[in-house]
């Protein structure tokens, strides 16, 4: 099996604070891997370092054999890594459909002159991209909201929109940062089914940060547990979640959902 991501001895510092401490991990093609850990464990910082938003102090990050360190986010996105954000970052004043179009034409598919002259070929290209974007919306079950202003959607739908937008970037590796935050049990179950379907149909490799164990357990092949920036445990969900040290660091302080 092909190794998609190989992180070794990654260390990230903010001033005097070590946010990630000597963390190594890897992910193979088609895997669904979870990253868990208490708040402030450095999970989102880890994602940020993969997407080029944060520069590590030391260590290496290799994606399909190429180093990601020093690359800017747009470049990394074009290499096939896409993500959603913990604190939703949609384009609030654009329509839902336009939101999903952005990754499809982040590198415009026609030149400046066809754009300025409003040529038929450019219009046709726009049409094609809208159709493709719509297919992602429909896959996430939010096709009917295509013309809504994205900022006016309810919270849960905004999270779905983020996933649709991330998929439209044609990723190989998808990073999901707490997609179930603020969702109730029914919505969580729905989300699990949705993610299963997407993972299968789009042949994706997925990395998931989540606190809801009923989202983590049915989805993830393997888990990494971070605590205070360092790796605490790694393994299959069943083993990891029953590990007394993990329970103490993480689940102990957090009442498990019914």
């Amino acid at each position: 099996m092909k190794r998609i991501l190989d992180v070794s001895a990654l260390t990230i510092r903010f001033g005097g604070l070590t946010a990630i401490d000597n963390f190594s991990m890897h992910i193979d093609e088609g895997e669904f891997v979870g990253i868990i850990g208490p708040n402030g464990a450095g999970k989102t910082t880890f994602f940020n370092s993969l997407t080029g938003n944060v520069t590590p102090a030391s260590g290496s990050v290799n994606y399909c054999g190429t180093s990601l360190i020093g690359k800017i986010p747009s470049r990394i996105s074009q290499m096939g890594i896409s993500r959603t954000f913990q604190n939703i970052r949609i384009f609030p004043k654009m329509t839902v459909l336009e939101n999903v179009c952005i990754p499809l034409h982040s590198k415009p598919t026609y030149g400046l002159f066809p754009a300025v002259l409003g040529l038929k070929s450019a219009k046709a290209e726009d049409e094609r991209i809208r159709d493709e974007a719509l297919s992602y919306l429909e896959r996430l079950g939010i096709g009917e909201y295509r013309d809504y202003e994205a900022g006016t959607l309810p919270y849960g739908l905004q999270r779905r929109l983020e996933i649709a937008r991330a998929l439209a970037a044609h990723p190989t590796l998808l990073l999901l940062d707490e997609p179930a935050a603020g969702m109730n049990n029914d919505e969580c179950r729905e989300l699990v089914e949705l993610l299963k379907k997407i993972h299968r149909e789009c042949k994706l490799t997925v990395m998931l940060i989540e606190h809801h164990m009923d989202v983590i357990q049915p989805l993830c092949d393997r888990l990494y547990v971070l605590n205070l920036g360092a790796l605490l445990r790694e393994g299959k969900p069943g083993e990891v979640l029953s590990d007394p040290e993990v329970v103490r660091a993480y689940l102990g302080e957090r009442r498990k959902r019914k």
Binding site: F14, N48, N53, V54, T55
Partner: protein, 291 residues
């Protein structure tokens, strides 16, 4: 040699005033994350208040207090009327900047229409006096402004690092929403910060008024202070002070040895060069951990 020393003394005193203004920028930027472009106007209004007070026979030291009161008043009024309602609505930073610019344009031109563009000398009685220090002749105003700005900066540092209110300001600068969650009254912090920036603007305005003149367009001096805070690194107090002194020295040297007409050009050029090689200024923080 003596001539260079003489220029250096002048430039350090101008630098002190730049530093004072730049600290105002840095303070507001660090807490509210936006560049308040209205400093010039506030500085000018305070200088006018000081000017009128002096005209009425108030002694200079008391006129300084009048100017500071005016600075605090207008700075806080602008915060309450313009910025706070916008922040409540989570307005775009761009909009806040445009609004601040609007305040500046409004105040400056209102005074221009009301009082005309003419220069008014602040009648202190000692503006042209000098003190001989060996072969050097130091202007009383220069000396005074240097002393006052250094004292003000020391007091400000003391306030920020040694008092409870100062700690709340620093906490808000690190993370406003968390500070709010921890029970810090963010609105009070904003009043403190805007009041302080009003005082620094007023002190600088008074001394610029004594050194040069009081006139409606004098606020454009604050652009220099902004350059100083950019050179030092936006949001860094230490950087603002050092940037202020550096810029003061640079400007006086350019004026003395090249030409006054190129002074502004050189200042902007230096800022561009700093931005190219030190994108976050000398002491600024990157914003990567704000994500």
């Amino acid at each position: 040699m003596i001539q260079i020393l003489q220029q250096l003394v002048t430039s350090v005193s101008v630098g002190g005033l730049y530093a004072l203004l730049a600290v105002g920028y840095a303070l507001i930027y660090s807490v509210f994350d936006f560049t308040k472009l209205a400093f010039g106007g506030i500085m000018m209004v305070s200088a006018f208040a000081g000017y009128f007070a002096t005209k009425l026979g108030v002694p200079t030291a008391a006129a300084m207090l009048v100017a500071s009161a005016a600075g605090v008043l207008i700075s806080v009024a602008v915060e309450l009327l313009a910025y706070r309602p916008m922040r409540k609505r989570n307005a775009n930073r761009l909009f806040l900047m445009i609004s601040a610019m609007g305040v500046n344009i409004f105040i400056t031109n209102l005074f221009l229409c009301l009082f005309g563009a003419n220069l008014r000398a602040l009648p202190t009685g000692f503006s042209s006096n000098t003190i001989a220090l060996g072969p050097l002749r130091i202007g009383v105003v220069d000396l005074l402004s240097l002393i006052v700005s250094v004292v003000a900066l020391v007091l400000l540092t003391f306030f920020l690092y040694r008092t409870r209110a100062g700690v709340t300001v620093r906490a808000s600068a690190l993370d406003m929403s968390t500070a709010g969650l921890m029970g810090i009254d963010v609105n009070r912090v904003s009043l403190i910060v805007f009041a302080i920036s009003g005082i620094t603007a007023a002190i600088a305005g008074m001394f610029f008024g004594m050194k040069y003149n009081v006139y409606p367009a004098m606020g454009s001096i604050s652009n220099k202070a902004f350059i100083a805070s950019v050179i030092g690194g936006l949001g860094s107090l230490k950087g603002a002070v050092i940037g202020g002194f550096l810029l003061g020295i640079l400007e006086i040297m350019v004026t003395a040895y090249i030409s006054a007409t190129y002074r502004d050009l050189v200042s902007f050029a230096v800022m561009m060069i700093v931005l190219i090689f030190l994108p976050n200024g000398l002491f600024g923080m990157g914003d990567q951990n704000k994500l």
